[in-house]
Structure formats: structure tokens, C-alpha cells
């Protein structure tokens, strides 16, 4: 197999990573294919290892709390048109929302990881004040 064929197959596997069982099966298939790459086996091996790390990432424990807080932060940093006071109120409401989500976290680690997100929103407030 040529490297570009391996790379194309790998792109298909990564593009379908939302389906974790299918992603696992795809990584297994890439393991077999990597061993057949003739023109650049070392690079194929490196891309295989990067794909295996992606699989670890996708299947690692994650926090619903931090995910929710991240979404709230993304919404809050989209500052609507309006007066500075209105914009400030929008961002402060976002800080409050992230803080409420963090307060309900099942663990202290999740609470603190969620609260860290508010640093970005404090920065958005600084931008509004300087306008």
C-alpha cells in the first residue's frame, strides 16, 4: 500500500470518529494497513500512533459539567450589538451561568475546571470597558 492510500483511509476513519465503536474498528483496520505501507512506513506508523491517541482522547473520562460550562462560555463571549451596559449585562449573565453550572459539579476538580473558563469572560468585560 502507498502512504497516500493509507492517509486517505485514515482521514475517513478520523472523519467518522463520532461513532466510537466504528472509530475503534477503524483504528484496528489502520493498524493492519500501516504494516503494509511500503513507500513511507515510518510516517504511516506516526500517523497510526496519532490516531490511537485520538481514540484514547475520545474514550477518556470527560465532564458533563465542564462541557456545559464551556458551551455557556462560548455563548457569553458572543457579545450582541447594543450599549456597553447591555453588552456587559450579557457577559455577566454568562459568568453567572458558568458559576451556577460549576456549583452543581459532582467533584471539586470539575467545579474548578469550569470556573477557569470565566477568566475569558472577564477579559471580554475588559474589552467592553475599553470601547
Amino acid at each position: 500500500m502507498r502512504f497516500d492510500e493509507f492517509y486517505a483511509e485514515r482521514s475517513t476513519v478520523v472523519g467518522a470518529a463520532d461513532d466510537v465503536p466504528a472509530f475503534k474498528a477503524g483504528v484496528e483496520r489502520l493498524r493492519q494497513l500501516a504494516a503494509t505501507v511500503e513507500d513511507d512506513p515510518a510516517k504511516a506508523q506516526r500517523y497510526l500512533e496519532a490516531t490511537e491517541r485520538m481514540l484514547l482522547e475520545v474514550t477518556a473520562p470527560h465532564s458533563e459539567t465542564v462541557d456545559l460550562a464551556f458551551e455557556a462560555m462560548l455563548r457569553a463571549r458572543r457579545v450582541p450589538a447594543g450599549t456597553p451596559a447591555e453588552q456587559r449585562a450579557h457577559v455577566e449573565a454568562g459568568i453567572d451561568e458558568v458559576t451556577r453550572i460549576a456549583a452543581a459539579a459532582p467533584t471539586d476538580a470539575e467545579r474548578d475546571a469550569a470556573l477557569d473558563l470565566n477568566a475569558t469572560l472577564l477579559g471580554v468585560l475588559e474589552r467592553i470597558e475599553r470601547q
Binding site: 502507498r2 502512504f3 497516500d4 492517509y7 486517505a8 482521514s11 478520523v14 472523519g15 470518529a17 463520532d18 513507500d39 513511507d40 515510518a42 510516517k43 506516526r46 500517523y47 500512533e49 496519532a50 491517541r53 485520538m54 482522547e57 475520545v58 477518556a60 473520562p61 470527560h62 465532564s63 465542564v66 462541557d67 456545559l68 464551556f70 458551551e71 462560548l74 463571549r77 458572543r78 459568568i95 453567572d96 458558568v98 458559576t99 460549576a102 467533584t107 471539586d108 476538580a109 470539575e110 474548578d112 475546571a113 469550569a114 470556573l115 477557569d116 473558563l117 470565566n118 477568566a119 475569558t120 469572560l121 472577564l122 477579559g123 471580554v124 475588559e126 474589552r127 475599553r130
Partner: protein, 336 residues
């Protein structure tokens, strides 16, 4: 290097902040920090909702109850306090927050507070700014604790943390995962380039020059420096590549939370940059094979052909010297 300002509101904790600032500089391999030595408290109205913040004027702000109080208790009570693993984890996270925020202040040697303030207004740079710094800080944390706390605290803290380990939970999950994937993809493409070096190149740079620095790193791993000898043309190519990278990270402003989305976005940003350099590398190499055409005045290749074959590492001519770094504080096209 800037030292902790004793006029700060936050206690000095026997040199902790100086050691931490130096450690962050070391881990980022940064030329300078814009930290001005001040560490004050987050305003009271936000002290329960914001853990830390690097201000645009170079101060570090830390939450009194969430970050400073655990450290005050640690220094007041000593190792005995660390018999509580929950408290030990609280201390670890306090140091991590301070390290992350100090990471925002690392910069090139010529960078100034005025430059930082100008950068700060470019909100499209937030995803890369947070993603690179968080990804690197997460990786460096165990060593940072060892090096910034005195041994009588660092050893029992490490022991307590190991006894009750917590899963690594990066803040900014979509951005951090995208950044980590981007770094891993470049490491896969370019033999000898470590993912952590990509993270460092992104984390230590000022926001508006980050994309250009990453473009320079990528170009330096290809044949392009020898194929594109004209400085003006090389700079134009690097600027285009920086535009690809910068736009990719700016696009993370709306990344869905799902881990796979961040991962796939990071992979796509890297793939776009790799395709651009490999396609151009092939084009200019073929032009050179035509026998002495002056490439520096030739036509540029079209945007990377879909499915174009990346040049295998063994077909390259070794590691060319890094191209000259541009020193334009505005960065490529005035943004990163």
C-alpha cells in the same frame, strides 16, 4: 527577570511566585514575560466565580478564597495539612491556575504592554490563546509542582495527589483538544518534531504573532526554505500559511462541545496547513527540476490540490535552516 512586587495584595509565600514565573518561562521556552511583578486579588464581586486572570497591564489577579487561601493554609500548616487528599488536590489546582495565567504573559523579547493591549482586543485569538496555554500547562503540571514548592511540601503533595488521582480535566475542552490534536498531527507529519514543541511554539508567542510563529515552525520542517530563497516571496508564503492556521483556530469560536468535534477541527487545521506546504514544496521542486528557472519570480502554485500526496520525509533534503523570522508586531495581515 521581573520579581514579585512585595506591595502586592497577595502574600509572597517565600518566593513561590518568582519560582513559578521562572518555571512558566522555562516550560514555554519563552524569551520574556510581561508580568510586572504584581499579584493582587480578583475583585470581590467575582472572587467566587473567577479563579485567576492575567490583566492586560501585566498583573496577575487570583481569587482570594479559591486560589490564595489554600496556598496560605498550606504554608501556614505545612505538610500536615496534606494528609487530606482533597486539600492536596485543591493546592495543586491553585498552582495550576496561577501557572496558566502566567502563561498568558509570556512573550517575545521585544513585546510590550502596549502590544499586549492591542492583542487583547482581538477576540478571534481567544481559542488559540487558551488552547495552547491550557494544553501545555496540563502536560507540564507535575514537574511544575516539583520545582516551585519546597521539597517538604512538594513531596507530600505529590504523594497525596497520587493517592487520590483525579482525571485530567482540561478547561476549554473544545479548544484544548483541538490544539493538542493539531500538535500531534504536525508531529506525525514531520519526523523529529515533537508535539510538545508545537505546543510551546504556540503558547509562548504573543497572540497576534502565534499563527506566524507556527507557520515558521512548519515551513522550517520542509524544503521550502531552500526552494524559496527570495525573502520577499518566502515571507509572502509564510504569511499565507499563517492565514490558514490563524483562520483555523479563530474558527474554533463556535466549536461544538463534543470531544470528537474539537479533535476533528484540530486535525483539519493541521491537514490544511500540511497540504499547503506539501503542495507548494512539490510545485517548487518540480520547477527547480526544469533546470535553473528562477523560482523566486515564477508563478505560485494554486491552492493545495485535494488528495495531493504529502512528500515523504525521506524525500526531503534534511532539515533546512529556519527561515528568517519576520518581526512585524502586527503579524501577518495584521492578525494571527
Amino acid at each position: 527577570m521581573t520579581r514579585f512586587d512585595p506591595a502586592s495584595a497577595v502574600p509572597g509565600f517565600d518566593g513561590l511566585w518568582d519560582r513559578l514565573a521562572a518555571e512558566v518561562m522555562r516550560s514555554h521556552q519563552a524569551e520574556a514575560t510581561l508580568w510586572n511583578g504584581r499579584i493582587d486579588y480578583i475583585p470581590p464581586e467575582f472572587e467566587r466565580s473567577v479563579r485567576g486572570r492575567a490583566t492586560e497591564d501585566g498583573r496577575l489577579l487570583l481569587s482570594r478564597p479559591l486560589v490564595v487561601e489554600p496556598l496560605r493554609r498550606l504554608y501556614a500548616e505545612g505538610p500536615a495539612a496534606l494528609s487530606d487528599p482533597k486539600f492536596a488536590q485543591e493546592c495543586r489546582r491553585a498552582i495550576k491556575t496561577a501557572a496558566h495565567e502566567l502563561g498568558h504573559l509570556t512573550a517575545p523579547a521585544d513585546w510590550t504592554i502596549a502590544d499586549r493591549i492591542r492583542d487583547h482586543d482581538r477576540d478571534e485569538q481567544d481559542p488559540a490563546e487558551e488552547g495552547f496555554i491550557e494544553a501545555l500547562t496540563q502536560q507540564e503540571m507535575p514537574g511544575i509542582i516539583d520545582r516551585v514548592l519546597p521539597a517538604e511540601l512538594a513531596v507530600p503533595l505529590a504523594r497525596a495527589v497520587a493517592a487520590a488521582p483525579e482525571p485530567a480535566l482540561p478547561s476549554y475542552p473544545g479548544w484544548t483538544i483541538a490544539t493538542g490534536t493539531f500538535a500531534a498531527e504536525l508531529s506525525a507529519e514531520f519526523e523529529g518534531l515533537r508535539a510538545i514543541d508545537v505546543l510551546r511554539a504556540g503558547a509562548r508567542e504573543s497572540a497576534s504573532r502565534r499563527a506566524d510563529a507556527l507557520a515558521g515552525l512548519i515551513v522550517s520542517r520542509t524544503r521550502l526554505p531552500e526552494l524559496l530563497r527570495d525573502p520577499e516571496r518566502a515571507a509572502a508564503f509564510r504569511s499565507e500559511l499563517a492565514g490558514v492556521v490563524g483562520a483555523g483556530f479563530a474558527g474554533l469560536s463556535d466549536v461544538p462541545t463534543a470531544r470528537t468535534a474539537g479533535m476533528q477541527r484540530g486535525e483539519r487545521i493541521a491537514a490544511g496547513a500540511i497540504e499547503k506546504v506539501r503542495t507548494s514544496e512539490q510545485f517548487f521542486a518540480q520547477m527547480a527540476d526544469f533546470g535553473g528557472l528562477t523560482l523566486d519570480h515564477g508563478i505560485a502554485p494554486a491552492s493545495g490540490a485535494v488528495g495531493s500526496r504529502p512528500t515523504p520525509d525521506h524525500e526531503r533534503l534534511g532539515d533546512p535552516a529556519k527561515p528568517a523570522l519576520g518581526n512585524d508586531k502586527e503579524g501577518p495581515a495584521g492578525r494571527g
